[in-house]
């Protein structure tokens, strides 16, 4: 049995009196691409924030690559090989797109050997269709381009686990399918992925497993294909998406 890359046990997070995460436990194995789904405000981003060390937890433990990172600072967690993106990325205005990408990989590269993905900056620029704006100020990108740049920058860090917060929101459909290819390739090189997403087609294509959060609790942990058969998931999250999705096929 392979050991878990990321293991979350009994995680809880409260802001003042409101419990956003109540009791969340799940794990990510190396080579997995796990989708983290759930209705708006169910606590997905909060979960990412706590796991990546941006917010302190209220209870529970998080282990990553065999270490307890429950209270570790962000940079220590990143050093272990966990890199995340933001749902609403904002970009510097006195740095170019290329510089931001460059900043993705630090000289010290984290204290632990990163995965062997190692994309070159120009390759990333091509893959994410940013080559023509490589010299532009990063803040002058369009909404979707910023999203893409943030994902590309995180990939450039060669993390062991890449945590993406809605990587496709605002991204053109044709690029979404390219993204599936890029992420799969990266995982094939030894990485793993935890993706918060709302695009069911993307999830179905990409994910090996899905976790569904609702009001701070996990209500499903299953294969992507099983989601629409789960009445709780349909009621809380998918709604009539199934009909439309069905129409698409």
């Amino acid at each position: 049995m392979t050991t878990e890359l990321l293991a979350v046990r009994g995680l809880a997070k409260a802001f003042g009196l409101s419990n956003v995460l109540e009791d969340v436990s799940f794990s990510v194995m190396p080579g997995e691409i796990v989708g983290l789904l759930g209705p708006n405000g169910s606590g997905k981003s909060t979960a990412l924030n706590v796991i990546s060390g941006f917010l302190p937890r209220s209870a529970g433990t998080i282990t990553f690559a065999g270490r307890d990172i429950s209270d570790a600072p962000v940079h220590a967690i990143t050093d272990l090989g966990l890199v995340r993106t933001f749902q609403l990325p904002s970009m510097p205005h006195r740095m170019t797109v290329r510089e931001v990408l460059k900043a993705g990989k630090r000289d010290d590269g984290g204290r632990f050997a990163p995965v062997a993905y190692g994309p070159e900056i120009d390759v990333l620029l091509q893959e994410f269709r940013l080559a023509h704006v490589a010299g532009h100020a990063a803040s002058a990108l369009s909404g979707g381009q910023k999203k893409l740049l943030s994902v590309a920058t995180a990939l450039r860090a060669n993390p062991k686990l890449l945590c993406l917060d809605e990587p496709t929101a605002g991204v053109h459909v044709s690029l979404r399918s390219d993204l599936v290819g890029v992420l799969r390739n990266y995982v094939a090189q030894g990485g793993a992925c935890l993706v918060v997403e709302h695009d069911m087609l993307f999830i179905r294509d990409l994910c090996t497993r899905c976790i569904v959060l609702d009001r701070g609790n996990i209500i499903a942990d299953c294969l992507p294909g099983e989601l629409e058969n789960n009445p709780r998931v349909v009621e809380a999250y998918l709604g009539k998406a199934i009909e439309k999705g069905g129409m698409a096929q």
């Binding site: 924030n49 941006f54 917010l55 933001f86």
Partner: protein, 297 residues
């Protein structure tokens, strides 16, 4: 004790108006406008100049404040709006530069000597064992009245909400139908008026020299920041805290403790006390006492 409270309150009144003005503009245009302390000096000087021209004191002060409000607006339109588009820090430097230019103007226009309004000064009378002067009561009362009026304007009209909207997201504010230029103009005008009134009140209690602005700068900032920049009425509280700290350090007699008649902390440390207090508060409340902004990742 009562004397201590009065001293504190009067010192606070010195700072409060300017600090409130500073905080109010900050709340809107997100940069601490250093030149505001100079507006206070302009207010006092112009008021005196008008009085010397024979204008009675009340209209002189009012006229001067309105004028300063206008000047504040002009500077804001010509200088700060443009600098803010670059960076708040740049705007801050710009306001420092403007302060220097204004200082130079004062030096040429008014000379280095201190100036005073020609008003009758009477010795203090004792009220409940506390010595207060007429002018203190008058200016103190006026200060409170001005603060209340400003508070009403902020909390009883949509202006307060619109100000915060413009400050957090001017683009969106315009898309919501807020005339950002008008709101900004109004607030800048009011801040100029209040700062000028603050300067005039100071001048009425004592005298004003061209260095007053520079000397007031840090205490005023300390007050505004303690209360939380952008929280206009936090600034009043901040002013009281600063005043109390300064008063305490100059008036506390350690003599009895060490078995001597009179042992005071050196008065020359009084300004350091307020700054140290500021730094200490910021260590624990990084956004001042009254501001608790939710920043989410």
């Amino acid at each position: 004790m009562v004397q201590f409270i009065f001293d504190t309150l009067f010192r606070a009144a010195d700072l409060a108006l300017i600090a409130v003005a500073l905080s109010a503009v900050y709340s809107l245009i997100r940069f601490p406008n250093v030149a505001l302390v100079q507006y206070a000096v302009v207010g006092a000087f112009v008021g005196m100049a008008l009085q010397q021209q024979g204008v009675p004191i009340v209209p002189a002060v009012l006229l001067a404040s309105l004028l300063v409000g206008g000047i504040a607006q002009v500077f804001n339109a010509v200088i700060f709006q443009r600098l803010l588009r670059l960076d708040p820090a740049i705007a801050l430097i710009g306001s420092l530069a403007l302060s220097m230019v204004l200082s130079a103007g004062f030096l040429l226009g008014f000379g280095p000597a201190a100036q005073r309004f020609s008003v009758q000064v009477a010795p203090a009378t004792r009220v409940f064992g506390v010595r207060v002067t007429e002018m203190q009561v008058l200016t103190g009362g006026l200060t409170v009245a001005i603060l209340i009026a400003f508070a009403l304007l902020l909390f009883r009209t949509p202006l307060g909400r619109e100000m915060r909207a413009v400050s957090t997201n001017p683009v969106l504010a315009a898309a919501t139908g807020v005339n950002t230029a008008r709101v900004t103009g109004l607030v800048v005008f009011l801040s100029g008026v209040i700062a000028a009134l603050g300067g005039a009140m100071l001048a009425l209690r004592g005298s004003v020299s061209i260095d007053m602005g520079t000397n007031m700068l840090l205490p005023v900032f300390a007050a505004a920041i303690l209360g939380g920049l952008g929280n206009a009425f936090g600034a009043v509280f901040g002013a009281i805290v600063i005043a109390a700290a300064e008063t305490l350090i100059t008036n506390l007699n350690f003599g009895p403790i060490v078995g001597q008649d009179h042992v005071f902390l050196p008065a020359s440390y009084a300004p350091a006390a307020s700054f140290a207090l500021l730094v200490a508060v910021l260590l624990f409340r990084p956004r001042g006492i009254f501001v608790s902004e939710v920043t989410r990742v």
